[in-house]
C-alpha cells in the first residue's frame, strides 16, 4: 500500500500535537478520567469501494474513519462523548466534557457495575488493520473482462464492490481490554437488457476479492436473463415460492429484528405471550433453526459487546461482554431473545443474551437446482426489496420481489414472471418452510448492511403476493 510517509502503526488522526496510537490514546483517556469508572471505545474503519453503471465505472472511494467514544460513570449516572477528531491536546477536554455531562444526568435505569477484565490480550498493541484502493488490483482485470463480456452479450451491468476493515478496541477502568478486527466486503451485479425490460441480480460476499469469480457471476446473470426470454403474466395471489438464499436471509434477519426480550416482556412484540411473558419455548418457526455465533467461519463477528447507547437490546454497562454461540430458534422452537445484563437480571434472573452481529439460518438440504427439479409449480424468487414493518403485533411486513421472478413447472424454469408486492410475516413464512436447502454465505439485498449471514434456499408453501408490480 502507499500512504505517503505514514507508518502503518500511526494513524494520521493523531498527528496534530504529536503522535499517539489508538492504544496510547485509550490509555491516556483512562488515566485522565476522574469519574468512578470510565469506558473507552476506539474504532477505526478503512473502506474502499468502486461503483459502476452501464459497464463503466461511476464513483469510487478510499476513506479512513476513526471514532473515539468516552463514557464516564459517576454514581449510577453515565454520559458519553464521541469524536472523530481527537488530537492529544484535546483528550482532556473530551474526558471532562463527558464527566460534566454525567453530573447533569438522572440515574441510568440499566446501571450495573462494569465488567471486570483481566488485562490486555496478546495482540493489544498491534496496529489497527488497514486497506487501500489497491486491494482492488486483482479485481480490476475481472471487471474489465466483465464489461467486455457484457457489451458483447448486449447486457448492461450495474454494480458495486466494497471492502471494509474495522478494528474495535474496548477498554475500561475495571481492566477490560478487548480488540477485534473485522474484514468483509461484497460484490453485487445487476444485469439488464438494453430496454431494461429484463433484469437479474447476483451478489457475493468477499474477504479480499481473490475469492470472487466475476465470470461465474456474469454467467449466472446471463442464464437468468435468458430465462426471461419468455415472459409470463401472473396475477396476485398466494403461491408456493422457492427463495434464493438472499431472500431467505432477509426473512431470517426480519424475524431476528423483532427478538428484543424487553419488548416481548412488555407485551409489545410478536414474541409476547398472551396474558404476559414471552413465547420462548413455543414452536413458532416450523422446522427452522436460527443461530448467531461470532466464531462462525467466514462471517466472523466482533466477539464482544461494544456500544455507546443503551436500549431494549443493549446497555453501555455491558461493554466488553463476551459473545458466544446463541441459538435463537432450534427445531422451530423459540429458544432465546436478546437481553442485556440489566434486563436479564431484572426479569428472568438469568445471564445476559447479547445481540450478535451475524446470523445463520441453518440448512443441510438440497441445492437450488435440485429443489427446482423437485418442483411441480412454484415461483422462484431471486431477492427482496424495500421491506418495511406494517404491523409489529403480527410481525407483518411488506416488500417487493426484485430482479428476477421465474415460474417453475414440472421441474423446469418456464420463464420470467412480473414482480409482486407481498405482505407476509417472516415468522409465518419461515414456519411454512417445507424444504430447507444447504446453507451458505448469503448477501441479503434488503438488509444490505448485514453482511454476515448464511442462509439456504427455502421452499415456502404459501406466500402472499398482494399485488402486481410492473417494475422491471
Amino acid at each position: 500500500m502507499s500512504r505517503g510517509a505514514l507508518q502503518t502503526d500511526q494513524h494520521p488522526q493523531h498527528r496534530a500535537g504529536g503522535v499517539l496510537t489508538l492504544q496510547d490514546t485509550i490509555d491516556r483517556v483512562l488515566r485522565l478520567s476522574t469519574a468512578d469508572a470510565c469506558v473507552v471505545i476506539a474504532r477505526r474503519v478503512a473502506s474502499v469501494n468502486v461503483r459502476w453503471a452501464h459497464n463503466t465505472v461511476t464513483t469510487n472511494g478510499d476513506a479512513d474513519e476513526v471514532q473515539l467514544s468516552v463514557m464516564s460513570i459517576i454514581g449510577r449516572r453515565v454520559a458519553s462523548v464521541t469524536r472523530s477528531y481527537f488530537p492529544p491536546e484535546q483528550l482532556e477536554d473530551i474526558v471532562r466534557e463527558a464527566e460534566a455531562a454525567c453530573e447533569r444526568r438522572p440515574d441510568a435505569p440499566d446501571y450495573l457495575p462494569l465488567l471486570e477484565g483481566n488485562g490486555e490480550p496478546g495482540d493489544w498493541g498491534a496496529p489497527p488493520a488497514d486497506s487501500d484502493i489497491h486491494v482492488f488490483d486483482p479485481f480490476v482485470p475481472q471487471l474489465r473482462q466483465l464489461y467486455e463480456d457484457a457489451r458483447r452479450a448486449d447486457i448492461a451491468t450495474f454494480g458495486y464492490s466494497e471492502l471494509q476493515t474495522a478494528t474495535t478496541f474496548v477498554a475500561t477502568t475495571t481492566g477490560v481490554r478487548k480488540r477485534y478486527t473485522e474484514r468483509i466486503g461484497k460484490v453485487e451485479i445487476t444485469g439488464k437488457t438494453p430496454d431494461f425490460t429484463r433484469s437479474s441480480w447476483v451478489g457475493r460476499i468477499t474477504h479480499d476479492f481473490l475469492d470472487i469469480d466475476a465470470r461465474e457471476m456474469f454467467e449466472t446473470l446471463r442464464q437468468r436473463l435468458d430465462w426471461a426470454g419468455r415472459t409470463i403474466d401472473m396475477p396476485a395471489g398466494a403461491y408456493e415460492v422457492l427463495l434464493e438464499p438472499s431472500a431467505a436471509a432477509d426473512l431470517a434477519i426480519g424475524a431476528y429484528s423483532f427478538m428484543t426480550r424487553r419488548d416481548a416482556d412488555e407485551g409489545r412484540s410478536p414474541y409476547s405471550k398472551q396474558g404476559g411473558g414471552t413465547r420462548i419455548g413455543e414452536r413458532l418457526f416450523g422446522d427452522v433453526t436460527l443461530y448467531s455465533d461470532p466464531a462462525e467461519p467466514r462471517i466472523e463477528a466482533t466477539p464482544f459487546h461494544y456500544g455507546v447507547d443503551s436500549g431494549g437490546a443493549s446497555s453501555v454497562f455491558d461493554n466488553g461482554l463476551d459473545l458466544r454461540r446463541t441459538e435463537w430458534v432450534g427445531g422451530g422452537v423459540l429458544k432465546n431473545l436478546i437481553a442485556p445484563r440489566y434486563w436479564a437480571a431484572k426479569t428472568a434472573g438469568t445471564d445476559a443474551v447479547p445481540y450478535i452481529n451475524n446470523l445463520v439460518l441453518d440448512g443441510h438440504g438440497p441445492s437450488m437446482d435440485e429443489m427446482i427439479a423437485q418442483t411441480d409449480r412454484a415461483l422462484l424468487v431471486t431477492c427482496f426489496w424495500y421491506i418495511r414493518t406494517v404491523d409489529p403485533q403480527s410481525a407483518l411486513v411488506t416488500g417487493l420481489t426484485r430482479d428476477g421472478v421465474f415460474l417453475v413447472e414440472g421441474g423446469r424454469v418456464k420463464g420470467a414472471v412480473n414482480n409482486f408486492r407481498w405482505n407476509m410475516s417472516p415468522i409465518a413464512a419461515l414456519a411454512q418452510a417445507t424444504q430447507i436447502g444447504r446453507s451458505g454465505l448469503a448477501l441479503p439485498r434488503e438488509h444490505d448492511e448485514f453482511l454476515r449471514s448464511k442462509a439456504p434456499a427455502l421452499r415456502i408453501e404459501r406466500f402472499n403476493m398482494s399485488s402486481v408490480s410492473e417494475a422491471s
Binding site: N49, G61, P106, S272, D391, Q393, E470
Partner: protein, 500 residues
Amino acid sequence: MTTRAIDPTFLALPLDRLADVALDIARKRGATYADFRVERLRNHVIVARDRELQTSVEGETVGFSVRVVANGAWGFAAGVDLTVEAVSDVARRAVEVAQSLAPLNTEPVTLADEPVYHDTYVSSYEIDPFAVAEDHKINFLLTLNERALASKLIDRVTSYLLLVREQKYLASLSGSRITQQRVRVKGDFTAVRIDKSTGAFETMGNAAPPAGQGWEYFTTGYDWGKDADEIPALLEQKMASPSIAPGRYDVVIDPTNLWLTIHESIGHSTELDRVLGYEANYAGTSFATLDKLNTLQFGAPMMHVTGDRQVEHGLSTIGYDDEGVAAQTWDIVRDGVLVGYQLDRQMAHKQRFGRSNGCAFADQAGRVPLQRMPNVSLSASAKPITLNDLLSGMGDGLYIVGDKSWSIDMQRYNFQFTGQKFFQVRGGKIVGQVKDVAYQSRTTDFWNSMEAVGGPSTYVLGGAFNCGKGQPGQIAPVSHGCPAALFRQINILNTAQEGS
C-alpha cells in the same frame, strides 16, 4: 430570519490553507477538476422510555475529502486529520484512484458550468440546539412522557430528539470558496396501549414534522403538549375501532401522511440519476424516463410540484450544493405534466440541461456527493379550500393522518402506505376511526385520481431526516410541503387479513 453566524471554531480551522494545498497537488498531478470539502457534523440523540432516560448520545465528526477528475475519471479520497501532511496525502490518493480506475471508464467526465462564488450561508433558525443545556432537553422529553402517562388509557410512551448541526466548507479548482452552516431538529413521540387479556397492542405516534429550525421548534414551533394530551384517547378509540373492510374508498389524505407519498412516488422518480440507471443496482430506476419529459401526464391538471433548495426551514435548503451550485427553485410537474428532473453538474452536462439545479449532496466528508433530493413539494390551491371543504367534497370515505409504514418498488410504480389514524367520514363528517388500514396504488394512477387540493390553511412542510440512497449508503434530510388532498377510489387493504 436568522441572526446566527457560522461557529467561529469552524472558521478557525485552516480551511483556505488546506484547500490551497489539496487543489495545488490535484492540479499538478493532472486533475482537470478538483474540489476540497471539509465537513463538521454534530449530532445529539436523546431517547426517553416511559419515565426514564434511555440514552443520550452526543457526537461530532469532522473530516475532509478531495474529489478530482483525472484522465477523464472520478477519483475520491477522504481523511480526518486537518493537517497539511494528511491533506497532501489524501489529494495524492484521490488522483491515484482516478488514474487507476480510468481504464475502466468509457464516459469521460465533464461538468456543467457554474459561476465562481465566494460566499457564506447560514440556515434560518433562532436557537442553536447545541447551546441548550442537555438537562433541559432531557426534561423536555421526560415531561412530555409524564404528561401522556398521566392518562390511564396508555401503557407505554417512547419519545426522542434528534438534533443536528452541519458545517460545510467547499473550495474548487475553479475558484469557489463557500462556507455554510445548517441546523435541523426532529422530535417524535409514540404511545403504546396493551390489552393484557388478549395480548393485543397498538401504537400511535404524533405527526410533528422534522424541521430546519433550532431549539425554538420545541418551545414555540409546535404544540407538543397537545399531542401528549390527545393521543391517549385517540389510541384507545383506534384500538376499539372496527377493522376496515377492504375495497375502493375515496380518501382525503392529510399533509402529515401525504408528504411521504410525495417523497417516494414523485421525489425519487424524478431523480435523474435513477432515470439514467446510476442507481439500478441499489435504489432502483424510474418509470419517469427522459422520453416522457413534457408529455407524461403524471397527475391531475391541478397538480403542481416544485423542486427547491430555498424554502425557509426546509431540510434540503442550503445556499450552495456540494458541487458549488447556487440554490434554486424549479418545476417538476406543472399542470399534471412531468416537466423537470433533479440534476447534478455531470448529468446536467451529459443530458444537455445546461446548468445543474444544485442537487449534489454528501452526508459526510468521507462520502462522494450524489444527486440527492431537494425539497419536493405539492403546491396548495390558491383558493381558500379548507380541510372541511375537502371532507364535504368527499362525502363518504376515509381521512388519513400521520405517516407510519411505507414501501415502493424499484421503478416507483407500486406503493403501499399505512398511517397513524384513519378516520371514517360519512356525509363529510368524521364519525370515528377504523384500523388495520393500508392504501396501495400505482404512482400515476394515484396522482391522476386526485380531485382537489386544499388551500394554504391545510399546507404543512413535512419531511424526513433519513432518506437513503447510494452505495456506500448515505442518508439525506429532505422536506416536502403539501396541502391536504382528495383522491377518488383508492385501493384500501385490511392489514390483518393480509397477515393471515
